[in-house]
Amino acid sequence: MNILIIGATSAIAKATARIYAERRQDLFLIARSEDRLKQLSADLTVRGAESVGYSVLDLNKFNEQEKAIDQAIGFLGTIDVVLICHGSLPNQQEAEISFRLAQKEINTNGLSVISLLTLLAEKLILQGNGTIAVITSVAGDRGRQTNFVYGAAKSMVSTYLQGLRGKLFPFNVAVVDIRPGLVDSPMTAHLKKGALWSSPDRVAGKIVRSIEKRKPTVYAPGYWRAIMLIVRLVPEFIFKRLKF
């Protein structure tokens, strides 16, 4: 299988890539830091990947995305699975008062993904098969006081994916929306951890299984589906008073 991973050096992406490497797949990685891409390629090769290629790209440079995707197709031939993983967790309080920061975060977590999806959808339609998997977040399920800039960007992507799934269905291209809960990774290093937190490895296992089964929307770990159902059901007159 040929697998393209975008935002490949994030903790969840790395853990997922390792599972594919152990299964001796071909991988192409896209991320910002060349050093870390080099290191990850070596790691995946040692673990058994059939072949590993990479391209260095700051994903916020929207007009350079196509070049990187073309490089991936040049390397892999066809794309069986593309996994989009990049993201950043903004400081909510700062993003609330600075539109510039909010815009930057929405670019990274929302628009850059939609830009990639636009390009990838076209390529996969031509191919006539494949799976697009995107890591969004449970934060996109309902806007909360403490995290709504990030949440808004993620829910934009989730909504986009819902529509895209229908559009790509006749072309045999599956669209998987992966919504992790709290994951103990470098992105969340500054946050206090508790019982609900899970490891990147656990989330990665779920991602690989969901891609195999071409599931539409998955929560990782699964118990987040129940938690978010409750969160969504809380009446607004109560919810607006909740500071979480």
Binding site: T9, A11, S33, D35, R36, Q39, L40, A42, D43, V46, R47, P186, A189, K192, K193
Partner: protein, 440 residues
């Protein structure tokens, strides 16, 4: 965040920093206030306070493999890679680590910092004897390559140096080729300590050997034990034997009430274990997993000792004085009725050149004690016996020994400090343990 070592004592509040690559590690090291304390932590499997400081540098994300050379039989990887990950990768390729400690969950960085040993020390030495080189980030942020040939003084200070010379970033380790992951185990019964010593001596040619001791037995039966000898089962070569195993057995979900472990319950356990094994087959083929890592199959077994934690006491006494010293220790422990499940006796081979390495020619005994106030005076008394017989304690297990005890047991401490002062003059790399022992 509140953290502790594997023994869950002592506990301290620390800030945990998790660099993702050597560039971010360098930033952290350079930004560190030199008078503050910073120490590396791998898997947190040292028992006491070796990995505890107000700021702790976790190697969790330095977990990449860099190169596997199957021909030369070497692996190069980040310091945060666990021995488990190496075995998972290497066993199907017919390669093994030369030395594994009692748990496969330690990291490469931690294994080097403690120069861990396994059941084959009497034949093969300790972990660092197979470390070809490593890169070490110094307090200055500079990365130096250390090996037996290059920066050899720093190499021998960092191997078993408890993280006090700098941060190990990655390392190259020699592997060995084997055709089977199974162990042919031979078990023998010794009715007292004398017999146990004789059997260990007589079976010095066995690749792996370890004795489980019933430390609650007294009188004529003092030191009654079961010996487990092992060899790689090379006779029936087959691909099927090169299978990575990790039988994640049931874990201990929370701290069990400590009173469940008392001398009566332990005597029942020890008696039934002894009698069960005494009657079981003497020769058997076991997978490497249950031979080397029996406790890894019980997740969080450290919680069995209750929320107050426990202390593991491991000492070595030189061969000539070993029988006398160990008898005295066992008599004292048995008289106090403070035994444990896990008393392990093992013969060590020759000492290596690492300045603070624990193993030296002689015998090592490991005892577990539930943490309670009464245990500390008892351990002080044991210290005296160990010192009187020319022995020393293992730093990776220690949570309480005195500076004097340490310095008496490790005569090379001064040379170690000289090297440390050269590369870390402000003693930025320090732990609760190094402060207690006068090493920082």
């Amino acid at each position: 965040m509140e953290v502790s070592g594997w023994g869950r004592f002592p506990k301290t509040t620390a800030e945990i920093i998790e660099p993702v690559d050597s560039a971010s590690l360098k930033k952290i090291v350079l930004a560190q206030n030199k008078s503050d304390s910073l120490i590396c932590r791998g898997a947190g499997r040292s028992y006491g306070d070796s990995s505890l400081a107000s700021r702790m540098l976790s190697s969790r994300f330095l977990d990449s493999f860099l190169a596997l050379d199957e021909k030369a039989q070497t692996i190069r990887c980040g310091a945060g890679v666990s021995l488990d990950a190496i075995l998972k990768l290497c066993i199907p390729r017919g390669l093994f680590l030369k030395v594994v400690p009692g748990t496969r969950f330690v990291t490469v960085g931690g294994a080097i910092a403690a120069d861990v040993h396994g059941k084959n020390h009497h034949q093969d030495g300790s972990f660092c004897d197979y470390v070809q080189n490593f890169s070490l980030m110094l307090a200055s942020g500079e990365i130096v390559i250390c090996s037996e040939q290059e920066n050899s003084e720093l190499f021998h200070a960092t191997c078993a140096g408890m993280g006090l010379t700098g941060v190990i970033v990655d390392a190259t380790i020699a592997l060995e080729k084997l055709s089977s992951a199974s162990i042919r185990q031979h078990s023998l019964v010794a009715n007292n300590l004398k017999e146990c010593f004789e059997l260990l001596e007589a079976n010095n040619g066995s690749k792996y050997s370890v004795a489980w001791l019933d430390c609650l037995s007294r009188g004529d039966e003092l030191g009654r034990s079961l010996l487990f000898l092992g060899e790689h089962d090379e006779e029936n070569e087959s691909r099927a034997k090169l299978k990575y195993r990790s039988r994640g057995g049931p874990g201990i979900p929370f701290s069990t009430p400590a009173f469940l472990l008392n001398r009566f319950t332990m005597a029942i356990f020890n008696n039934s274990y002894f009698n069960l094994k005494k009657r079981s087959k003497q020769e058997s083929i076991v997978d490497y997993d249950s031979y080397f890592f029996p406790l890894d199959n019980i997740g969080n077994w450290n919680r069995l000792y209750g929320s107050k934690g426990f202390l593991q006491y491991q000492f070595v006494i030189p061969t000539d004085a070993a029988f006398e010293g160990i008898s005295k220790v066992l008599s004292k422990v048995s008289a106090a009725g403070k035994g444990s499940f896990l008393s392990v006796l093992k013969k060590f081979g020759k000492q290596n050149k690492n300045l603070l390495s624990f193993p030296r020619e002689g015998y090592t005994l490991t005892l577990d004690f539930k943490r309670e106030e009464k245990i500390f005076p008892l351990l002080n008394e044991l210290d005296e016996i160990v010192l009187d017989h020319g022995g020393r304690l293992y730093l990776a297990k220690d949570a309480r020994m005195s500076e004097a005890m340490f310095k008496a047991g490790y005569p090379e401490w001064e040379r170690f400090l000289q090297v440390k002062n050269r590369v870390d003059p402000s003693s930025m790399f320090s732990s609760l343990q190094s402060n207690r022992l006068g090493l920082s």
